[in-house]
Symmetry: C2
Subunit: 165 residues, 2 copies
DNA sequence: TGACAATATTTCGTTAGCGAACATTACGTC
DNA sequence: GACGTAATGTTCGCTAACGAAATATTGTCA
């Protein structure tokens, strides 16, 4: 890596070094992961405000699209690593904006089906374009080969995190 | 990658594929980053509750240690990618638990120095041991060479995110 | 059938974080 | 040396999320 290539985590690590006997590489990876995600969320949030949408709204619509436009709150909560209560809150605001519709299921009346409205689909499509651009501009800092390599490493980590215990 | 190596993002991508014409690799990387961080935070939070601490409290103490035990709220907020208001809130709770102390600076009376108390330092040390273990157990899924490679790639991304605009 | 467990979702109370407005102190210019 | 401007931190109102408990519906088994 070139000498000028320094990020905020390098500076953090330099200050931290010697203050405690712990693995610097782990610290570096974890901190960079957290910061990157914060940056992604902030940048995306700023971009999405163009269409008057917030990140959490978009993510929910996005999952709903992936499910074909219909899903139960439980499914979405699991997809999004969200608590059931948090899911209800999200759906409330989405329903208030008419991007989503709640329908009690007829077979199992304990369940609720969340349906994407056409307005919701249209807005998702608009936002998706914006999101794709913002995210691509961040990831493009890596060559296609590096992207593939990174994705593979992340997948190993995530798979491990999801299967252990 | 082996056929059995599938994570939740693979399943998400499979459902999503064909529903919109966007870069699947970018989607994969970004989603995995977000999920990994969620997993890290959740797992760490569960472990830290042993010593009655929350992740955000730990992170604040950690930065303070890195700064040698003294820093201004602005410095900490910048370190933690936090808003000034959010920082005030964190410091309030930390001060209430006597892990931290606020002292008005004498030269520049707008400023406040945040000092780590000895109680704060002791608790940080305890928590650090727990945190290191939890994080290491997640990162250990990768070989040392892979860890180094991953860290390099993340650094490239973060450096890019921090310097562009 | 009727009591009871299981499942799905919502309600309630609390919390951390944000943006915007504000008070206070320092600085630069005339 | 007074005045506008910048910097620093806090207060306020609001929002999204959480965990725990409540509610509603369905399945099970005697």
């Amino acid at each position: 890596m070139l000498p000028g290539m320094e990020d905020s985590v390098d500076r953090h690590l330099a200050r931290w070094r010697g203050k405690a006997p712990f693995d610097e590489r782990v610290e570096a990876i974890v901190t960079r992961l957290q910061f990157l995600v914060k940056h992604i969320v902030h940048t995306k949030e700023a971009a999405l405000s163009e269409v008057g949408m917030q990140d959490f709204e978009f993510e929910t619509l996005h999952r709903l699209v992936a499910r074909g436009g219909v899903a139960t709150p439980s499914e979405l909560a699991a997809d999004l690593l969200l608590s059931p209560a948090g899911m209800t809150g999200r759906l409330d605001t989405l329903e208030r904006s008419a991007l989503v519709r709640r329908v009690r299921s007829t077979e199992d009346r304990r369940r609720v089906d969340v349906e994407l409205t056409s307005k919701g689909h249209d807005l998702w499509m608009e936002a998706m374009t914006i999101r794709a651009e913002v995210e691509a501009s961040m990831i493009k800092a890596l060559s296609p080969e590096d992207q593939a390599h990174l994705d593979g490493l992340l997948k190993k980590l995530l798979h491990n995190a999801e299967t252990t215990r």
